[in-house]
Amino acid sequence: MSSFLSVRDLKVHFPTVDGIVKATDGLSFDLERGKTLGIVGESGSGKSVSSSAILGLHRRTSAQVSGEIMLDGVDLLKLSDEDMRRRRGKDVAMIFQDPLSAMHPYYTVGNQIGEAYRVHHDVSKKVARARAIEMLDRVGIPQPDRRVDDYPHQFSGGMRQRAMIAMGLINNPSLLIADEPTTALDVTVQAQILDLLQDLQRDFDAAVIIITHDLGVVAEMTDDVLVMYAGRAVEYGSCKEILTHPEMPYTWGLISSIPDVSGDTSAQLIPIPGNPPSLLNPPSGCAFHPRCTHRDKVPGDLCTTVLPELLPGTRTEGHLKRCHLTNPDVVYEREILPEIAPDLVEER
């Protein structure tokens, strides 16, 4: 029995004058209805490019997309443009990071939400408007019958994001992709939006992919996590497992470079040295090796020459990691955890 959404060996390559940019290079994951997957990584790691591929947003002339994206038994990559257009916004919907630039400033919010409905349903403008009001109410906009005629600039940031969510969910999609849905928002508004997304997911029984660089959002929202680096998955598993027993130095780096709002103040803040690599000319072997501080624990020059496979980790079957280290669990417990969370070590 295959999953509701099953992505296999997805590659998105952009040919440029300087060479091929391998923005996504062999990505595989599964997602069930009602579950949430978090895709985490730095800018340029390929998170957004991969999700745009699921929506079929890459122009065939500028991007080479290969692999398999099975949604409910249908391979989205094999569909014609016309068939894909019919599904986009209906079966698969997306919420963008910046709601101000994702909305048209000349049309009212209600008009734009209604349009999303009318594209897929043969109804009058009046019906679409009523449906838009209903959705605005559902996402918690006060006085929806009045606000429906407002323009995007009359909405606050949080309300705009709610309106985007209303637009995304108006056709009752079975897969919702949220690309950095709360990055542009204040924490209190972020909390409201995350709560709303969780409520709606329960009601609509949708599969949700949340793309984010914020591990806090991942921790609160997701069932599974996929950590991406330089176009590839470097760690994949259940959210709890990955956040409590990460086995890949890049994930360690992400966890150690965020300060906490609670816990021991003697915890160290340890950044990842250097910058994310260029995808035009990625490092040989493991793409993370130039920034990795645990390279000396791997014998020989494995890290610089051989790309590690995505293999099961040391603890559970479903936890995959891409690293040559043989005892990452021990390294994490002994070297990383005592520095970043001295108070948690005692609890364990």
């Binding site: 730095e42 995350l194 806090g216 921790a219 609160e220 409590t244 803040l269």
Partner: protein
Amino acid sequence: MSSHDPKTSHEQVPAGMAMPNEDVLSGAENAPDDAASYIAPVSRHAATMGDPNAKAILEVKDLKMYFPVKSSGIIRRTIGHVQAVDGVSFQVPAGGSLGLVGESGCGKSTTGRLITRLYEPTAGTINFDGQDISKTSARGLKPLRREIQMIFQDPYTSLNPRHSVGSIIGAPLEIHNILPKKQILPRVQELLEIVGLNPEHYNRYPHEFSGGQRQRIGIARALTLQPKLLVADEPVSALDVSIQAQVINLLQDLQDEFGIAFLFVAHDLAVVRHFCPEVAVMYLGKIVEIADRETLYNRPNHPYTQALLSAVPDVKQAAIGGRRERIRLEGDVPSPINPPSGCRFRTRCPLAQEICARVEPPLLQIGKRHKVACHFAGELGKHPDKPVTAGLLGVDDSGTPDPGASPSVDVGNEPGFADTWFDLERRTMASA
């Protein structure tokens, strides 16, 4: 086993980091030498500790900034004011840091800009190093610019794309006539090295650097004149998480080395907790709570601070299943053109009562280093039923003036902390 000793907080990341200096020095044209591949040494840090006895280098009192709102049409009359900052008082200790947090539109950035005198305040005093600079003329401000510098949020728009890094960082030296032209370049290279950039890259342009490296350039520019106070306005919020930590640690290094005081403006409560031993929370132009780090994060007394803290996702806690209950704040921040009467937070406050609409709560000192502006101040779940401030303000519990009451304590808006404070539990004055 581990080569890391947790006690050495200044440890540089050990060997194994390629330093592409050699390529540059050997002048190999075809060597991979783009600025973005330079890996700067990084340091690691625990949270900064503050010295409570340090003298204040900056003292701000009753600072106000009202921006006029003009009507449309030919005759543009002033029809109102945006009360961006409305009576803010605080101190920044020499060589220490104060964090200023709050949601967008709360006036934290405006406060930062007032202190660097990018705006002239409507009212109030800004006492820097013994001199009131709130009314200083443009000419008089020039020497001040050496002392107070700013780091901006967006490293993409705050560097002139047509100037090389060398001229961006060297410009302050030229403007202030500090060094003869010949000595500027060596100083620029020294600064580049301090902020972890390759000193040979002085003739490159901002677009050749990544976001984190551009922010380092902005920091180098701010350091050029060896300021005593740096106003950092969201210095890391535009950067990727791993790069954020690099820049925060760099700022900590610089503070230790040069004794620079920071006013750290940010919306990220976790970053502020790490960087600032003392934190002020702003809401709609006012400080609602100010305290040392331990108090503010572990025992916040203002319902807004409590809600703000509960809204921050906590990775390490969530991972071990310790999920905290979020306090839901309904709605948005009201307009600062026409703020709510009394307490400005009352429209979204779960505790609000009659008195909150009638009387504005004073910023009352309730602990050694803890002030809070709430009629019902108390730890989460222990808020009192009756307003604690009624007696002090000479009103009854619903906020109407009570002729029988005698205001017992002077609740002014003084910056800094007094030796005595109002004890919430005993409802009397207390001291250490």
